[in-house]
Amino acid sequence: MSTTTRGTTTAPIEATAMGAATTKPQRSHLTRTRVRAAWIFLTPMLIVLAMVAGWPLARTIWFSFTDANLSDLGGAQFIGFANYLEYYDGMWFGVLADPDWWNSIWNTLYFAVISVTLEVIFGMAIALVLNSSFKGRALVRAAVLIPWAIPTIVSARMWGWMMNDQYGILNDMLMQMGFISTPLAWTANPDLVMISVVMVDVWKTTPFMALLVLAALQMLPGDCYEAAKVDGISPIKVFFKVTLPLIRPAVMVAVIFRLLDALRIFDLIYVLTSNSKDTMTMSVYARQQLVDFQDVGYGSAASTLLFFIVALCTVLYIYLGKVRFD
């Protein structure tokens, strides 16, 4: 990490050196024109961003307090927190009282934690292999990128075919190797669907993790390894005592990046297991309410909750990642 940011830490020193060289009134005039130009250049981007992100988000939050319906968005009436939680006639209603919503939160967290953990382990293993020198290394690195490049929908379909209960190659392989005696229904069996989803996601996103870890590994100073080699310390010990602490910041950022991605997962699950209760995540739940049941108010309440959960994690990311803005 320190090497990545070195270029930027020296910049202010250069700037002050330059500032001293130029005469003062001229600089302030230049600075003023530059700042004005900067805002002119920023405006188009800010307008677009406000239109595609700010406004729709505000409208979604507003809808969550109304009884809006997909076929009649204009006729939405304010109904307070009823979409979130309402006590009516001795019963609790609203998203927060819906066991399916809590189930989808649980599914999302379960999916996110398990798949990201596996991705870190596999990603690190692959990165360590790619970091050692061998013939055809560039070729392997390219091969590893293939799952990353394949569209999620395509990988969901590809794996759906491989995991087909009757004709799938996965069952065939496992049966030939003697791990299972009868074919498994990977995408239909409630006990297996989540494992299937995790399997596909790990396959698809491990390359991302591996490449980020590899980038961190390649920035490590070589001299401490030389020292460890001379002292005859075992490679495993070197990994845990030297490598891991050094690449930890980079890995942490990658992990949180991936976690945020996993929390909003939609496409893979939608295509691989459709609206199965056993894999329904927060995004799938919200879209089902919004589009399939046409209940925009209720669906927006779920979306808004998801937004705040992810926002909380983003704040955590910025805090833990010690993101620099200079």
């Binding site: 700042v35 900067a38 075919w161 799938g168 919200a286």
Partner: protein, 280 residues
Amino acid sequence: MGKRHFRRILGQIGLYALVVVIILYAVFPFYYAVLSSLKTGSELFRVDYFPFSWNFGNYVSVFQEQPFARNLFNSIFVSFAVVVLSLFFGVTAAFALGRVQFRGRGILLLTILGVSMFPQVAVLSGMFELIRAMNLYNNLLGLIFAYMIFTLPFTVWVLTTFMRDLPKELEEAAVMDGAKPWTIITQVFMPLMWPALVTTGLLAFIAAWNEFLFALTFTLTNEMRTVPVAIALISGASQFELPWGNIMAASVIVTVPLVILVLIFQRRIVSGLTAGAVKG
């Protein structure tokens, strides 16, 4: 000495075995999709590990049974438009954010980073309303508009990182010559920015090409769908009669251009990803 030599050879064998496992793991599913796409009829329902037939029937029927050519065109059109627009807005904004010190810059960068973390579902109903109000429902322009939410923050972020690291002297010289900021961007920075533009453009292209949720929600007819939606919605007479041959052929058609791009630009992509995640 002999023992050490033996151990080194053993280590080498282990390393290459691992490499083979990694390659198989990464490439096999795609290889199997290609294999399946070349089988028709009952051949599909027999598991083969090696190419058995070379029948391109599925590649023909996928274009006959649905407007797949149109879907491909839609995806290409939308992705290119998204790349061009996000690069234009990205470069101008990155110049301001990366080269000029002004108050509120930190907050702006924070906001942009925050938007790149947005769950798409969070804006779904608001975006739906907006797209319908602009009369862009079931229209490719609506998709191009909506896609800005995930390509733009990312493009701005990565280009700002690149822009920031360019040497200051170049710009100083241009300023001394009295060049306007727009001239500085186009004449001084653009020639140096090509690698960064290719990287971010490529990443934006892949993101737009692969997008599913918006494309599924904001289009209605077969003719307006992009390929991911078309592939996801290919269905047979019943749930148990999915035309797997067609699905695999379509999957291969969509993936091959991406795989080629990735193989050509793998170094650029890796540097772009690390600039976006590790540095950021």
